[in-house]
């Protein structure tokens, strides 16, 4: 009896070690896939060991087996289907959804533990405190991640939704679940405290994420990932299961670091983002006055193609506009054409390009861009002065030189030094603003040509035109 339990716990320990190794292998594109496979194998082992443990303990009823098997099958089928079908542009929504279910499962474990305890009143703080925290964090993550996924999918408005009293609510709700947590710890058998806590936490998840704009979603997703990790770790405390504590905290700290990196890349504090109201979401082509285009220099596909064909170094600056137009394949084709012609091509990727950390890299990888051509901000910035052409596709705020000056909405945000290239071409549909809602000085720079078109259509035209020059 005891041997089985011990063996299973050694398997859990091995699995935990494999999770750490798996994440460690993710630090290079060459080994990353192996890391993921290792981690998945460890998870499979841990799950198989749990089945063994459950069978060996013999307390499980026939219905219990049925619940376990059918729930597992239904969940696995849903997960598999979603993972296979998802478009790479929709990846952040899916990750957010997986976050939601993970947090939800963790919260349910604590709810179950408090409800099913034989002597609920006798539960010590050893169980009731992590239980209460698990419920709060898990439920907040569940509803918050669903709202975030809804925003990214466009089901919920991407704009910050601020209703009267929202701020007040965001003060009252945490205060009430702090009170609820204390109540539940003192009286673990109180059903009112339990259900109240679940309700308040679910509501807070919604009111916390609703006012945050679409542009801040990379930070929010990273933050919610960290939350789920902590919820799972708390479930580990409730169940006395070290494997859950290790895996949960591993995820939590990784999510925490990514959150910090993202926030730094936008020069915003995490608190600032969570309190919200700045990011106005996907720049609905703001119908701003037509005063600005007077100073800009519109260019045609042929003009741009000549520049590209006779350049020796071209830097592409992709932004979310590219992803939204699903034009990553067209860009990849254009780049390949130029590379084949002997032109040095690379991509400048700002850390917050896309809808989750590093999302742009995935989109470019999907378009078969070799990862050796992807350059991070710190690496590419010194190279801009040598670039003959910098081609900006749907990136706005991250290229605005105004960020170098104090006194505006994006002051101090690290940007790509696109304005230092010898010439600049911007592909954009209109003079609409980015999420910061300010004019981009880059567009009125004399060396900048504006190519007003849809990213996908424009890149196809460029490819055809360049083909004529180099073909």
């Amino acid at each position: 009896m005891d041997t089985v339990s011990n063996t299973v716990h050694y398997i859990f320990l091995a699995a935990a070690a494999c999770f750490v190794l798996g994440l460690h292998l993710m630090n290079h594109p060459r080994t990353a896939r192996r890391g993921n496979t290792l981690s998945a194998a460890a998870m499979t082992g841990a799950i198989a060991a749990t089945v063994w443990l459950v069978a060996d303990e013999g307390v499980i009823s026939r219905t219990g087996w049925l619940v376990l098997a059918s729930g597992g099958l239904v969940g696995a089928a849903l997960g598999l289907w979603a993972a296979r079908e998802v478009q790479m542009t929709a990846m952040p929504q899916l990750v957010s959804l997986f976050n939601a279910v993970g947090g939800g499962a963790a919260a349910l474990i604590a709810v179950n533990d408090l409800l099913q305890a034989e002597d609920p009143a006798g539960l010590g703080a050893r169980v009731s405190l992590p239980g209460a925290l698990d419920i709060v964090i898990g439920a907040v993550t569940f509803s918050g991640s669903l709202v975030a996924a809804g925003k990214l999918q466009g089901v919920v408005s991407g704009a910050p939704v601020v209703f009267p009293g929202a701020r007040l609510l965001n003060v009252l709700l945490p205060a009430s679940f702090a009170a609820g947590t204390v109540w539940l710890v003192l009286a673990p058998d109180s059903r009112t405290a339990l259900y109240g806590l679940v309700a308040v936490a679910l509501l807070f998840g919604v009111t916390m994420v609703l006012p945050i704009g679409g542009a801040d979603m990379p930070v929010v997703i990273a933050l919610l990932n960290a939350f789920t990790g902590s919820a799972v770790a708390m479930a580990g405390f409730v169940l006395d299961e070290t494997a859950l504590i290790i895996a949960g905290m591993l995820v939590s700290s990784s999510g925490g670091i990514l959150t910090k990196l993202m926030a730094d890349a936008m020069n915003r504090s995490i608190a600032n983002i969570v309190v919200g109201g700045f990011g106005t979401g996907d720049s609905a082509p703001a119908a701003t006055g037509s005063a600005a285009p007077a100073q800009v220099r519109p260019v045609s596909a042929d003009d741009v193609a000549v520049q590209l064909a006779y350049a020796s170094k071209v830097v592409f600056v992709p932004g979310y506009g590219l992803a939204a137009a699903q034009a990553q394949h067209e860009l990849g084709d254009l780049a390949k054409l130029l590379t084949d012609h002997g032109i040095d091509v690379c991509y400048a990727v700002h850390p917050v390009a896309g809808r989750m950390p590093g999302h742009m890299n995935v989109l470019l990888a999907e378009a078969n861009v070799p990862y050796t051509q992807l350059k991070e901000m710190d690496e590419i910035n010194p190279e801009f002065p040598q670039a003959d052409v910098a081609l900006v596709i749907g990136a706005n705020d991250v290229t605005n030189p105004i960020a170098r000056r104090p006194g505006n909405a994006i002051s101090g945000m690290p940007i790509l030094d696109v304005d230092k290239a010898k010439s600049v071409v911007v592909i954009k549909r209109s003079m609409g603003h980015g999420y910061a809602g300010i004019d981009n000085e880059l567009y009125t720079d004399p060396k900048t040509g504006m190519f007003f078109t849809d990213a996908k259509k424009g890149l196809s035209e460029l490819k055809a035109a360049v083909g004529e020059f180099v073909g």
């Binding site: 896939r33 841990a46 729930g71 070290t242 504590i245 999510g255 992807l374």
Partner: protein
């Protein structure tokens, strides 16, 4: 079930945070999305917790909670690993393309 001593559990908790920080801070920005999705699948370990509560449930409420937790957890685990693998497959090195690029430089 092993009754893990609280102090041991807290030790594990703190060390895991530090290991996480150490392992993650070296990952390049290129891989941040697969990393997040990969760590997302790691927290799918919550499915083990769901299995344990399914094993100890004996009331209809317990079964409902366990079933929902199982669905959520299994979805998190399976979907997370599959989608991460799909992403990372796209990051595979393209030796031909790289060699060509080097030759041209």
């Amino acid at each position: 079930m092993n009754n893990v001593d609280l102090l041991t559990a807290i030790t594990v908790f703190v060390l895991s945070v530090l290991v996480g920080v150490e392992v993650i801070s070296k990952v390049p920005a290129t891989l941040h999305t697969p990393l997040m999705s990969g760590s997302n699948s790691v927290h799918g370990i919550v499915v083990i917790g769901a299995m344990l509560i399914a094993a100890e449930s004996h009331t209809w409420l317990g079964y409902v909670l366990a079933f929902t937790a199982m669905v959520f957890g299994a979805m998190n685990v399976v979907g997370g690993y599959v989608v991460t693998d799909r992403m990372l497959e796209m990051f595979k090195a393209r030796p031909a393309a790289e060699k060509k690029q080097k030759a041209e430089v």
